[in-house]
Amino acid sequence: MMTPSESTATPTPRRGAPPQRWMGRALRRRGTIIASCVLVAIACVTLLPFYWMLSSSLRTMETMFSLPIQWIPWPPNWNSYVLAWRAQDFTRYFFNSGFVAIAITASNLLLCSLAGYSLTKFRYRGRGVMFLAILSTMMLPLEVTMVPLFLIIKRLDWANSYQGLIVPFLVDGFGVFLMRQYMMSIPKDLIDSARIDGASELRIFWTIVLPLCKPALVALAVFTFREAWDMYIWPLIIITKDSLRTLPLGISLFMSSYGTSWDQLMAIAVLGTLPMILLFFFLQRAFIQGIAATGLKE
């Protein structure tokens, strides 16, 4: 990684003080340049699918595979977006995905922070066991429980319904863990003094605790929203009605029925990624913190 600068450092036997300091700075600068170049190259690899998706959505089918590669399609073919959007009820799929993801995110914010608050600032019998029980649900991913969960949802008559898409994910063990870790840093004196002032417990939670947790809440929101927007296997199992399809279902259906209309497929792919890209650019810090927090272990 940084060996290039190191290897050039060794063959300089003379150790005059001023040249060495000067060289040290030059070497550091050279390291920076090399590291930057490596990262630029890697960024090209990570961005290629994005670029290819966007540029192909603007190509016509005739020039889709033409050689040499037409890196910037000109004139852009915006028509693919219109055609794709009309081919299926994508307006509805977008709404469904957005609605489900927002509902799941909102409920997670509320329930995870309530549970985290309970686990850190109240004492009652069985608290430790409850925490471990909640944490252990992280061992039960959907891929393991999907068969019986489907049977439960069917018995509740929730297949093909928003409830079926939302209710099983109203709260998540990891989210509780995240909020609990964050709330441990809130001083209990703050809450006690509010109690002495006569504030009700709910009011303390709402006006004192929640505002203090804003960074953790934003991170949790971004993390949950991303997962919910991404959800594929569960809607695939319980949704068969077109009016309830989420965007991932719509895209995969579109792929199986319009498999070779790459211009339209890429147009839909761009539109399906756009909300996440916007979210990322507006909440970049929270986004990265949300991911970094998944590695939190203190």
Binding site: M2, A35, V40, M138, V147, W229, I288
Partner: protein, 319 residues
């Protein structure tokens, strides 16, 4: 600090407090604490209820279903361990387990040095650091289904990847069409998406290492490699373990990409376990058999989750 339940039973520790508080007032205080505890329990109940119904109950039911034969039409029939026994002799299941293991192994191992290397690079001075970090982070943002569609397009016989390989004089590779390459094509996408994710976690781990350690190493004349080998690596050990565990769990659950790109083919070469469970349950309606497969997957996930939970609760005195 008025700690609730124990305070009622044990004598109050501070002698002055005992003098000042007559029994009646202590009683009133106790019931207030009781009220607070009740509130504490009340606000965690919804979470417990939802997790019990939609996570724990299905798991129990999965264990039950795994010893039955159930086709959704006739009521479940108890068959003992027959599902497990027949699975262990089913070449398709064994193949699927092998495919999953291959996927896990080869999508986890390369990600570790790649993400750590990137994190180390980002932890030093870099031109346009924020721009580069955002650019490299982008794969995390792309929804899995979109990723499957876009990469399927790029993997076409006359697609952009083969064209670019052509510049290097490499013959076109039938990425998704051949059972020899399809799994590798899927693994490559897994690496593409996982690397930036774990880079962020490593970066957080790196930034938690106190700068003093590096200063001290510099004074002692340690080189770049020495600093990395004797300071960064040992201090990052817990982060590394966590990254491996999380990555293994994510890799064991992979579904959308193989489902959309190949549907498990060609010649079953990309039928990972979750995909096989899905097909057994919802295409062949063999719920018992699918549940038995889920139990196998569960054991795999649990082994690694256990490490994760241990890491999460380490140094946690408030049990």
């Amino acid at each position: 600090m008025a700690s609730a339940a124990p305070a009622a039973k044990q004598p109050v520790t501070s002698p002055t407090a005992r003098l000042e508080r007559p029994t009646v007032r202590r009683r009133a205080h106790w019931s207030l604490a009781r009220k607070q505890a009740a509130f504490g329990v009340a606000i965690i109940l919804p979470t417990l209820a939802i997790l019990a119904i939609f996570r724990l109950l299905p798991m129990v039911q999965a264990l039950y279903l795994s010893v039955t034969a159930y086709d959704l039409v006739h009521p479940p029939r108890f068959v003992g361990l027959a599902n497990f026994a027949s699975l262990l002799q089913d070449p398709l299941f064994l193949k699927s387990a092998r495919v999953s293991l291959t996927y896990v192994l080869f999508s986890v191992v390369p990600v570790l040095p790649l993400s750590l290397g990137l994190a180390v690079l980002f932890n030093r001075s870099i031109f346009i650091k924020n721009v580069l970090r955002s650019a490299i982070f982008m794969p995390v943002v792309m929804p899995a289904v979109v990723m499957a569609v876009v990469w399927t397009f790029m993997y076409q016989q006359d697609g952009v990847i083969n064209t670019m390989l052509g510049f290097l004089g490499i013959d076109p590779i039938p990425w998704l069409r051949s059972s020899a390459t399809a799994l590798w094509a899927v693994i490559l996408i897994g690496i593409w998406r996982a690397t930036p994710y774990y880079m962020v976690i490593f970066l957080a781990g790196l930034q938690a290492i106190p700068a003093d350690y590096y200063d001290a190493a510099k004074i002692d004349g340690a080189g770049l490699w020495g600093t990395f080998r004797y300071i960064t690596l040992p201090l990052l050990k817990p982060t590394m373990l966590l990254v491996i565990v999380m990555n293994v769990i994510v890799a064991m659950k992979v579904f959308a990409v193989p489902m959309i790109m190949t549907g498990g083919g060609p010649a079953d070469s990309t039928r990972v376990l979750p995909l096989f469970i899905y097909q057994t349950a919802f295409e062949f309606f063999d719920m018992g058999r699918a549940a038995a497969m889920s139990v196998f997957l569960f054991v795999g996930v649990m082994l690694f989750s256990f490490v994760q939970v241990r890491l999460f609760t380490r140094g946690d005195e408030s049990r």
